[in-house]
Amino acid sequence: MTSLSAESLPVETSEHVVSVRQAVRRRAVELGFSLVDQTKIITAASELARNAIQHGGGGEVIIETIALQGRRGLRLAFADRGPGIADVARAMTDGYSTAGGLGLGLSGAKRLSHEFAIEAAPGTGTRVVIVRWK
């Protein structure tokens, strides 16, 4: 996988959720994503950014345009300094929320992406990486 270009944005406040969405939209448009694909990756980014703020106490995201074997895509790596997640399988279950939310953010972000990886060992914060290929 080669990185074509990357930028890092803060994810600390709800204004940042908006700026992350806008940055993702800009890159998705540059890559020539269809309207549906743009909407999917923007919405996934919105979920993960909100989680990093609400559950992870804030962090940052690295937004990267990548290429692999002639395909191009968008890779988003969210990292926060929060408590991590003790039971990741449970957190990924539809409808599970510890905060009165819909509990569909993590599982939904996974369904909206082509690749999804999560590392959330308690004490080291949570890291979620998603990729959507063109």
Binding site: S14, V17, V18, R21, L35, V36, Q38, T39, K40, I42, T43, S46, E47, R50, D94, G101, L102, L104, G105, S107, G108, R111, L112
Partner: protein, 262 residues
């Protein structure tokens, strides 16, 4: 910003500057400089409102460097004195440049905060489409602060008008994530408690697909593709119908005299 404005700004600024310099104090935060600070605050604000950048505003002050250095060179008696004078003047102007940048930034933030406040009120117009039918075209990002305003104004209007149908049109909402969906569902539930049924319209195809992938269940909510479809449904529910009648132009009904004369 017209030349005349720049001219009058420059005149006010240099007058205040002269007075401050006379004081011999070279700290721009000192009392002697309060007039200069006031003038700069006023002109930073008006520039910020007109959309000038901080560096454009700072240039107003920093462009004084060259003429001042020129003047000093003519007045100085020897090289050492010249170096001292230039150092003092340049420190002063740098301080003023920084000050003006800060003032500009502050004014800009004020402008943005005001605009956000205005936007919040502006973008939540609840419209009466028909007796008993309200519509709320939501435009922009539906984050928590705005949703609160949107929801409250809608519920208030339902009470005030005794409406039984409320149409929430989200054509102008760029992203529907689970938080926005939850806000919409809560609004629908609250409206129902007030005796009004909600119809959500303007769910664009890409948003519909994304909502399905997220797993959000909107089955309990009536949805329509467009505001027009939602309105037609609302009328049907109220037992009203829109029917076609033979076209009758305004002028036709105003011409009995002409036909009488014919």
């Amino acid at each position: 910003m017209s030349d005349a404005d720049v001219d009058s700004d420059a005149r006010q600024f240099s007058r205040a500057l002269m007075v401050a310099i006379e004081s011999g104090d070279v700290d721009v935060q000192a009392t002697a400089w309060s007039d200069v600070r006031d003038v700069l605050a006023r002109l930073s604000e008006s520039r910020a409102i007109h959309g000038a950048s901080p560096s454009e505003t700072a240039t107003f002050v920093l462009s004084l460097k060259q003429p001042i250095f020129h003047a000093l060179r003519r007045r100085a008696t020897d090289q050492n004195q010249l170096a001292d004078l230039i150092w003092t003047a340049s420190t002063l102007l740098d301080q003023l440049g920084l000050l003006v940048t800060e003032l500009h930034q502050k004014a800009r933030e004020g402008v943005i905060a005001r605009q956000q406040q205005e936007m919040m009120e502006l973008s939540t117009p609840v419209i009466t489409l028909w007796e008993g039918v309200l519509a709320l075209p939501v435009i922009g990002t539906l984050d928590s602060a705005r949703t609160q305003v949107v929801m409250e104004s809608l519920l208030q209007r339902i009470v005030d008008t005794g409406s039984v149908i409320a149409i929430l049109d989200i054509t102008g909402v760029p992203t529907v994530d689970t938080l926005v969906a939850q806000h919409l569902l809560k609004t629908v539930a609250a409206a129902r408690l007030m005796g009004a049924d909600c119809i959500i319209s303007g769910i664009r195809p890409q948003i519909a697909q994304t909502i399905v992938h997220l797993g959000v269940d909107l089955n309990a909510v009536t949805t329509k593709a467009t505001l027009a479809d939602a309105f037609a449904l609302a009328l049907r529910r109220l037992g009203k119908a829109v029917t076609r009648t033979p076209p009758r132009s305004e002028s036709a009904s105003l011409t009995p005299a002409a036909s009488a004369g014919a």
